[in-house]
């Protein structure tokens, strides 16, 4: 009986992994032939044989880059405040609750609010700026989790030591919390970056564009992102589009791996070993 449960549960674990594994292999096979320099640097076109995705890549980089930075800073500030400045447990729980609620809002609703409030009311338009700010709040719960966990793991004794040497709260934050917690916070934020890279629904609403030949240059430009372009390609019946969509998926995965590897590199370079007696 025990063995049975073990095998069934192992099977349950393996099933999605294997299914998706096969899927991704097939995607790779379908798409790899389309990936070349012209594809990456070229412009989208209505002729599938001349397809390029450069403006879309730029759009994604803008959105992911800006929203990650904004969200990380917000998460950083919030975690520092809750870990070092707040002693009232009720307030802390309230903040956690609000962050949980934010995490529950459907991504498409973020898009609607982003478009309506930031785009129209605040006047930023259907631009990269609107998209980035909206995305920053969407991934905020993930950056909060990462930064909180990083700062909570710093031993109280080290902070006490700094205080006993005459440090002010601000100095403890800059000289103890941040140097010791930053690398962990950054690696934890990888999930947030992945989310920003892959989210299509909010950008769909905010930008409205599934296709653009224009490379976005300023923050107020219109744009589209890689997952949205996949959406565009996927809805077309011809086989060539299935392959092109696969190719864009490969590019998306490649960008994500690049970001992960960079973050792991930084983590290894700057990690401190906390040696406790």
């Amino acid at each position: 009986m025990d063995k049975l449960v073990k095998y069934i549960s192992c099977g349950a674990l393996a099933t999605p992994i294997i299914i998706l594994g096969i899927f991704l292999v097939q995607v790779f096979i379908d798409g790899i032939t389309h990936i070349n320099l012209d594809f990456i640097l070229g412009s989208p076109s209505y002729d599938p044989s001349k397809m390029g995705i450069f403006p879309v890549i730029i759009g994604s980089i803008y959105i992911v880059g800006i929203s990650s930075i904004i969200s990380f800073l917000m998460g950083l500030g919030l975690s520092i405040y809750l870990v070092e400045f707040v002693t009232n447990e009720r307030f802390k729980n309230l903040v956690y609750f609000v962050v949980d609620m934010l995490a529950g809002v459907p991504s498409v609703v973020y898009g609607l609010v982003g478009l309506g409030f930031i785009g129209y009311v605040l006047g930023a338009g259907r631009s990269i700026l609107t998209g980035s700010i909206t995305m920053a709040f969407l991934i905020l719960p993930l950056t909060v989790v990462a930064t909180l966990e990083a700062f909570r793991s710093i031993p109280e004794s080290l902070k006490m030591t700094a205080y006993s040497l005459g440090a002010s709260r601000q100095e403890v934050v800059t000289n103890v919390l941040i140097p010791l917690g930053l690398s962990r916070a950054l690696t934890g934020s990888i999930l947030a970056v992945a989310r920003a890279l892959g989210e299509a629904a909010p950008i769909l609403v905010i930008s409205g564009l599934l296709f653009t030949k224009k490379v976005p240059l300023s923050l107020l430009d219109e744009f589209t992102v890689l997952p949205l372009y996949i959406f565009n390609l996927v809805t077309r019946p011809q086989l060539i589009y299935k392959e092109l969509a696969s190719a864009v998926i490969i590019v998306l995965i490649a960008i994500f791996m690049l970001v992960s590897i960079t973050s792991i590199y930084f983590r290894l370079k700057y990690s401190y070993r906390l040696y406790e007696v």
Binding site: K6, I17, L20, L76, F85, S168, R195, A201, P227
Partner: protein
């Protein structure tokens, strides 16, 4: 050696410093309020033209046609049907994975498997939609030749795989955090591993597992891209999961890609549906939070 002025400076800085982090912790609340109020106010414009009763209880949704009707039941129904399909798949796969990782896997395997499952969760939902349309539907067509190109079942399955990591990680956390003393007690009474799991651990971890299911369900309800790609744009009220259906999120995606000029009723219908969706999702989330808080004291008392 240490300048006296340094200390006055510290006091001065201390008073000013806390404002920036304080601001950062108020921003989430601020934006949450913005979300709720904004959706609410835009939806008000919608409900000035469409009665709430017609909206909530109407069976006909034809918002984009000449003769408009705004009965939301088809959208809501489709949303729940697909979410239930997803939950049906993920509940077994997710729980099974959680059991394996928590109870059977070695520490070494655990360290590989946990991140692997979490990696699944980072796959963009468009990719799942692609998977549903181009892989699942053709595969299902072999067994179910009546299946439409856009249908609920494929979307549901893909969504199920997508939310499996949510159930898996949360349920695994719940199982893992059951105190070892409980397992010890069971084993020392001669219980086998599977008996311990099903009779003891499940009971103890039940609040965590239940809230995992509920949270995954909420996620499924709010998901857009999979259904936009694979489920279709026909708002119908049917139990036939081989047919195409349109969910609340699917409708929003459709109108957003189309041309709904600002101020038209189509535009405001977006916010009406969004408000409804938001309330459902947040409500479900609150239930999950309530369950895990209200009942987890049972474990802490042990």
């Amino acid at each position: 050696m240490i300048d006296e002025k340094v200390f006055e400076e510290k006091v001065r800085r201390e008073n000013k410093f806390k404002y920036l982090p304080m601001l950062a912790s108020l921003l989430p609340a601020f934006f949450f309020i913005v979300i709720i109020s904004f959706v609410f106010f835009e939806a008000l414009s919608f409900f000035q033209q469409v009665s709430i009763k017609d909206f909530l209880f109407g069976f006909e949704w034809s918002a984009l046609f000449r003769d408009k009707s705004f009965g939301s039941i088809p959208l809501v129904w489709s949303t729940f049907v697909i979410a239930f399909i997803a939950l049906a798949f993920s509940s077994l796969l997710g729980l099974g994975s959680a059991i394996y990782i928590s109870e059977y896997a070695s520490e070494k395997s655990r360290r590989i498997l946990k991140p692997l499952i979490e990696l699944l969760a980072t796959i963009p939902t468009v990719v799942y939609g692609f998977f549903a349309l181009q892989y699942i539907t053709p595969a299902l067509k072999i067994f179910l030749p009546n299946i439409e190109v856009y249908n609920a079942l494929s979307s549901g399955i893909a969504m199920g795989i997508m939310i499996t990591p949510i159930i898996s990680t949360l349920a695994e956390d719940a199982l893992y955090s059951v105190p070892y003393s409980l397992r010890m007690a069971a084993y020392s009474l001669g219980a086998s591993k599977s008996q311990t799991i099903f009779k003891i651990l499940f009971r103890a971890a039940l609040p965590g597992i239940a809230s995992a299911y509920i949270l995954a369900f909420a996620r499924a309800i709010g998901e857009t891209m999979i259904v936009a790609i694979a489920a279709g744009s026909k708002p119908v009220f049917t139990l036939n999961i081989l047919e195409s259906m349109q969910t609340m999120t699917g409708y929003i995606a459709q109108v957003a890609t189309g041309d709904a000029p600002f101020g038209t009723i189509e535009f405001f219908s977006l916010y009406g549906v969004a408000l409804y969706l938001l309330m459902i999702v947040l409500g479900v989330n609150l239930v999950a939070v309530y369950i895990s808080r209200r009942f987890s004291y049972l474990v802490s008392k042990l």
